[in-house]
């Protein structure tokens, strides 16, 4: 029988820190990674719940461990990490409602790690805060983590909140790396209103029910990509499956970066399958989940030209079950043949030397060959088709502007940047427009919202959004209905943020003879 046990309190990195204990017991890349990551977050203390029932582990227990003669318990530990020194005395005050102590505990919370009673794969569900990003924001290259969601941990009447996406170490009894990547992907905030998040054991079981391969279910022997797609469908979502377009299905930088960034900006994590390059001439198939990326500085674009946004991003943030959560990988064309690989590259230690060897320094490169994304089933537009539409419906604007400037002998200006993504219509109208138009008078926002609501053809819940910007200033948003087939993909409406846009459109059509139908004009100036 389980027995009550008191909470334990320890300094981070001291002998009572469960990660220190684990590292002594097993040579685990994941434990080393977590210690380095938390050190960079400036963790100072840890509070351990010695008795914690974890939903995911209970599911694994039911599927596999309950019938093992080894006698595994069904209970875990959960370790909570803090940036301040949270002692029993401080914690007791916080639990009693003492304001200052409560604020200290809540605001210094860095996240939690569930520790399973499985010696071979002890690190269970883990949610940790991201590194601070003040520098990226100040430099105009913020980290984009749109899929992140808020998790709550309840301890003795305290609610501790952390934003991120859950990660866990692969437990080969009940899942493969693909199972864990898929599990993380289904945690995205994009699906908050859609479905219950499955456990890893449920994912493995569903994969074998819906796309049988003849292999046994448990212990898990791996998943085929077709099974991953079936699991996504089984959870009421729609799978998007895209391969690389270069030799051996590798990706060009342009295709990989623009697609990954577009999905992440839309709130969808990206599951990447590829080759993990181990020893020389040795590779194995591996799957990871990309949860964010570092945006690149605005590109320099020649007058009259346009480029695709995000094609020059250099870093993605990856949940890799072999390594840990939010691991930074650099996107590189290492071979110089125009195809890309992902190389692990942690930032330098932020708070003095790391407490143990950082495994990202010896981990291997990954060569992406396929990407899989779960999207809402109502969203029927192929993201590649939206990118094609973005190219086709926007290239006239920088040309028209440059033409008029030359004709009027004005000051030359730069070219433009084109981006595409999916967004929920209410989110676009409520948040995106408010943010884009926040420097204009309230009447502009009001007129824009009402015109969209009253004059534009009724639109789908999820819209395709194509934005073209001059430097950093949005010029025009083109909205696409995503509930029809790609054959019928055409603009529903376009929002011009300056009066020059419809003026340039009208003149360019007369000058070039091009017929450009962008749908209903919404005057957002």
């Amino acid at each position: 029988m389980h027995r009550p046990k008191p909470l334990r309190f320890s300094a981070f990195g001291a002998s009572g820190d469960p990660l220190v204990v684990l590292e002594r017991e097993v040579d685990s890349r994941q434990v080393k990674y977590l210690r380095c990551y938390l050190h960079d977050l400036d963790a100072r203390s840890v509070v351990i719940e010695p008795n914690y029932f974890d939903r995911d582990y209970l599911s694994e227990f039911e599927a596999f461990y309950a019938t093992s003669a080894a006698g595994y318990p069904n209970i875990c530990q959960r370790a909570h990490f803090f940036r301040e020194n949270v002692t029993r005395a401080v914690f007791a005050k916080a639990v009693g409602g003492e304001g200052q102590a409560r604020t200290l505990v809540e605001t210094s919370y860095l996240g939690h790690v569930v520790i399973r009673p499985i010696p071979g794969a002890p690190v269970g569900r883990t949610v940790l805060k991201l590194y601070p990003d003040e520098k990226g924001i100040a430099e105009g290259t913020p980290r984009i983590m749109e899929p992140a969601r808020e998790y709550e941990a309840h301890v003795a009447g305290l609610t501790l909140r952390v934003s991120g996406i859950a990660w866990e170490q692969q437990d080969s009894a009940v899942g493969s790396c693909a199972t864990v990547a898929l599990w993380s992907m289904l945690h995205s905030s994009a699906f908050d209103d859609h479905h219950a998040i499955p456990t890893t054991a449920e994912i493995t079981s569903m994969a074998h029910w819906s796309a049988p391969t003849g292999h046994r279910i448990f212990p898990d022997s791996g998943l085929q990509l077709a099974q991953i797609l079936e699991v996504i469908k089984g959870h009421g979502l729609a799978p998007v499956f895209i391969t690389g377009e270069e030799g051996d299905q590798t990706f060009s930088r342009e295709r990989f970066c623009t697609l990954v960034a577009s999905f992440l900006r839309s709130g969808y994590p990206v599951l990447v399958n590829g080759w993990l390059e181990e020893e020389e001439n040795q590779r194995e198939a591996h799957t990871i989940c990309i949860v964010g990326f570092r945006s690149a500085a605005p590109p320099t674009v020649a007058p009259g030209e346009h480029v695709l946004a995000d094609k020059d991003i250099n870093f993605v943030y990856v949940h890799d079950d072999n390594l840990g959560p939010n691991a930074r990988f650099r996107i590189l064309d290492a071979e110089g043949d125009g195809t890309i690989s992902l190389f692990p590259e942690s930032p330098p230690p932020l708070n003095g030397g790391w407490p143990t060897s950082n495994p990202t320094q010896t981990y291997h490169e990954i060569i992406p060959t396929e990407i899989v994304v779960a999207v809402h089933p109502e969203l029927r537009t192929d993201p590649l088709e939206l990118q094609r539409a973005a190219e086709n419906y926007t290239r006239w604007l920088p040309l028209a502007l440059d033409h008029e400037i030359k004709q009027q002998k004005g000051t030359s200006t730069s070219g433009m940047v084109v981006s595409s993504r999916f967004v929920r219509l209410p989110q676009y109208i409520e948040h995106e427009l408010a943010s884009t138009l926040r420097d204009r008078t309230p009447s502009v926002l009001s007129k824009t919202r009402l015109t969209l609501w009253e004059k534009a053809t009724p639109m789908s819940l999820h819209i395709g959004l194509v934005r073209i910007s001059l430097g950093t200033e949005p010029m025009m948003d083109i909205l696409f209905d995503t509930s029809d087939s790609d054959r019928h993909l055409r603009p529903t409406a376009y929002l011009a943020f300056r009066a020059h846009v419809p003026w340039l459109l009208s003149r360019w059509q007369k000058l070039s003879g091009e017929d450009i139908d962008l749908g209903v004009l919404v005057r957002a100036w």
């Binding site: 924001i137 391969t243 623009t258 194995e284 006239w396 009027q408 943010s435 000058l511 003879g513």
Partner: protein, 71 residues
Amino acid sequence: MKVGTQRKFTIWTAPASSSDVPALVQLDMRAPIAGATVAKKRAASAKLRSQKVLKHFVTRTSAESLRKLVK
């Protein structure tokens, strides 16, 4: 140039007086239309260049990929 962060949204935006757009606001919107021949040529040339970009956005799937086993 500045970056605005609103809730989870992080988007590019700039004040109306952004130095990125002076040429735009200086344009005379009542100027006569001119340069049709040049415009037609530039439109055709841009369309050709687009074809190169679009080749990266062709959908491809393969039965071999779907059978790949990931452990």
